[in-house]
């Protein structure tokens, strides 16, 4: 064999070159094998500057963890439900800044029941000011659709403003990253943090809805609105993300509106025919208990929703709402 310059290559030289080339190829193969990651990359792992939502919960009181009130008029039922838990004064102290997080996920009209009822939101704002002597009430959400359209077309923006609340729409600077301790999905993920950072209390307001992916959307799923980024990725593991949200958010109170329940085609619905009048409103300091009762309005048992068991196991609340001895009332 000869080189390009015409000089002959000796057998030993040839073998040495073959050996070097072979070693290089083998080295590349070994390096590729060692570097191969069959599971793909994980989310960012740095932990600096992570935000943590404050714990907004209030001390528990036996027999005043969950109330269930039946009646058609949301204003009367929510007043009664909160009264049964000890009154708004138990939850809101004079001078408090209260953040209310209604479900305003969609730019749809109130009659569809896909978003929190505007009159109900307004009444809770009013209660915070009048009974609780709150300094400021913020109404906010990070909707799925365009935020301005959502707050306008759902009627929540106008109702909340007229009741004296500051309506806060999501802006990029209001998001910060968080990591949920022991969380599998919420790891270094942007959340809608700004409006809650300096709040003293947090109240969630959600309608009871069928949900095509999760089975039901209620008070725990309502916290999905706090997630930023490309949160649709979590639909692949919807039960875990809802359970983790219930671990991440420790609200003062949740109000679950089952006055009209979206029985089918949730979470957006699209027709009044999707709704059934159940005339029930639930208030609770325990999201898991509230949703465990709320799902019965959809004809489901708590055991039908995997996220409830996961949240209970993680210590976010109890699915055995009866053990909490719900305070019950009916408003004629």
């Amino acid at each position: 064999m000869t080189e390009a310059n015409g000089k002959k290559i000796g057998r030993r030289d040839l073998l040495a070159r073959i050996g070097q080339a072979g070693a290089t190829i083998a080295g590349c193969g070994l390096a590729s094998y060692l570097l191969y990651d069959p599971t793909g990359p994980e989310a960012r792992s740095e932990t600096k500057d992570l935000a943590t939502l404050p714990d907004f919960s209030v001390p528990r009181k036996a027999g005043q963890t969950i109330s269930i009130v039946r009646g058609q008029d949301r204003i009367k039922t929510v007043d009664k439900a909160i009264e049964l838990l000890g009154g708004i004064e138990r939850f809101v102290k004079p001078g408090d800044v209260v953040a209310i997080k209604p479900n305003v996920a969609f730019a749809s009209p109130p009659i569809l029941g896909a978003t929190a009822n505007p009159q109900l939101v307004a009444e809770v704002v009013r209660l915070c000011y009048s009974g609780g002597k709150a300094k400021k009430v913020i109404v906010t959400d990070n909707p799925i659709n365009d935020p301005t359209s959502c707050f306008t077309l759902s009627g929540v923006g106008k109702a909340a403003s007229e009741a004296g609340a500051d309506v806060v729409l999501p802006k990029p600077h209001l998001f910060q990253r968080t990591t949920l301790a022991d969380g599998k999905l919420i790891r270094n993920w942007p959340i809608f943090f700004g409006p809650f950072e300096k709040a003293d209390k947090l109240i969630g307001i959600a309608p009871v809805k069928h949900h095509h992916r999760a089975g039901a959307s209620m008070s725990m799923k309502n916290w999905y609105g706090l997630l930023g980024g490309r949160r649709n990725i979590f639909h692949q593991d919807i039960n875990t993300i809802i359970a983790e949200l219930s671990m991440m958010v420790k609200p003062t109170l949740v109000i679950l509106d089952g006055t009209e329940v979206m029985m089918t085609n949730g979470p957006t619905g699209g027709s009044v025919s999707d709704l059934r009048r159940a005339n029930t409103l639930i208030a609770s300091t325990d999201c898991v208990a509230a949703d465990s009762y709320g799902c019965t309005l959809l004809g489901l048992a708590a055991s039908d929703l995997a996220y409830l068991a996961q949240a209970e196991k993680a210590g976010a609340g109890t699915t055995d709402y009866e053990s909490l001895k719900p305070a019950m009332a009916t408003i004629s």
Partner: protein
């Protein structure tokens, strides 16, 4: 050993070392970057993952329809039109998106129209491009509400208190009103009519399976199409169902067309096996004529399931409360399918 002069060898070595160093830097950069991926920014991209095809141009861009032409009399645009593809459909309908994306969804065009007299009266138009008639019918049928007004002038259409829903070729269309006001229902009908006129479709597309269901006792507008995982069995695909009201019983019949008779027989067997493995108990058939079709009857937690194969069709009865009524309907269905199978062979 080597005949290359020493200076040249040193130059070769230096160049080689430089090239290797660059490659190592590139590899290190790739490693660092992939370890730092931010799922909240990039998340799931079905297009990149090859789950769906790249997004088509909006209907308006394709010149297929002018939204301005759809404005009903006395209405104005309330917002800009919005366009969604499989990647971002969740931004519009959130958890309902999989219902569409798993049924061949291509794109969604939406637009809101408000009354010029009263802005609180508005409607939102949704035009879902589902790629073909069957897909459009599937999402339409699976969301169809109970107790609705069936619209007689269109094959798949109904109206509820605040909305109008219909299939137009490969499009599934919703018109959702902000109230139940009659002042919205007439403009909705106008817009629907305009769509049927303006939006071109393949008029040769038909769903032939729907004609195979016996007519006696059939609940009007009660057909559904499950493209995948019908009745919880993942292999049972492209299954049409029909609701029947027979005496006091409500019964669901189903039909699915397979590749050939052999494929249909295998599917009937595997569905029967699925039912038994999940707690069903095989029962003898009591209807003599039904025995001709080698139908299998299963008691499934107090309800009756029947499955059989006729020609290229797998068919049966699902969750019937009364076994006798279920077997009678199954026998009629099998007879009808036998005629259809014969016609197909000819």
């Amino acid at each position: 050993m080597s005949s290359v002069p020493a200076p040249a060898r040193r130059l070769e070595s230096a160049v080689s070392i430089c090239l290797l160093a660059i490659l190592i830097l590139v590899a290190a950069g790739v490693l660092l970057k992939q370890a730092d991926v931010d799922m909240s920014r990039f998340g799931m991209d079905p297009v990149a993952a090859g789950v769906v095809e790249a997004k088509p141009a909006p209907l308006t861009a394709q010149g297929e329809i002018s939204l301005t032409a759809l404005l009903p009399q006395g209405f104005k645009k309330l917002s800009e039109s919005e366009f969604y593809d499989p990647e971002n459909l969740y931004e519009k309908i959130n958890g309902k998106a999989p219902l569409y994306t798993e049924s061949g969804f291509q794109s969604l065009l939406t637009e809101r129209f408000a009354s010029t007299q009263d802005e609180s009266l508005w409607m939102e138009l949704f035009i879902y491009d589902m790629a073909n008639l069957r897909n459009a019918f599937s999402v339409y049928s699976r969301q169809r509400r109970a107790d609705v007004e069936i619209l007689p002038d269109t094959q798949f259409a109904y109206r509820t208190g605040n909305g109008l829903y219909f299939v137009h070729g490969k499009y599934y269309i919703e018109l959702v009103g902000s109230s139940e006001s009659p002042e919205l229902s007439v403009p909705m009908s106008q817009t629907a009519e305009q769509i049927r006129t303006e939006l071109a479709i393949d008029k040769d597309e038909h769903i032939v399976e729907l004609t195979f269901f016996p007519q006696e006792g059939l609940v009007a507008g009660g057909n559904r199409l499950y493209l995948a995982s019908a009745f919880g069995f993942k292999d049972l695909t492209n299954i049409f169902t029909a609701g029947y009201k027979l005496r006091d019983w409500t019964i669901t019949a189903f039909i699915g067309r397979r590749l050939d008779a052999n494929d249909a027989r295998k599917m009937a067997e595997s569905y029967h096996r699925f039912l038994i493995e999940n707690g069903g108990a095989a029962k003898p058939t009591t209807d003599e004529s039904f025995k001709d079709w080698q139908g299998r009857v299963v008691d499934f937690y107090g309800t009756t399931e029947i499955v059989f194969a006729v020609g290229p069709f797998v068919a049966g009865i699902h969750e019937a409360d009364d076994r006798q009524a279920a077997e009678q309907l199954a026998a009629v269905l099998a007879g009808k399918l036998a005629e259809s199978a014969k016609a197909i062979r000819q």
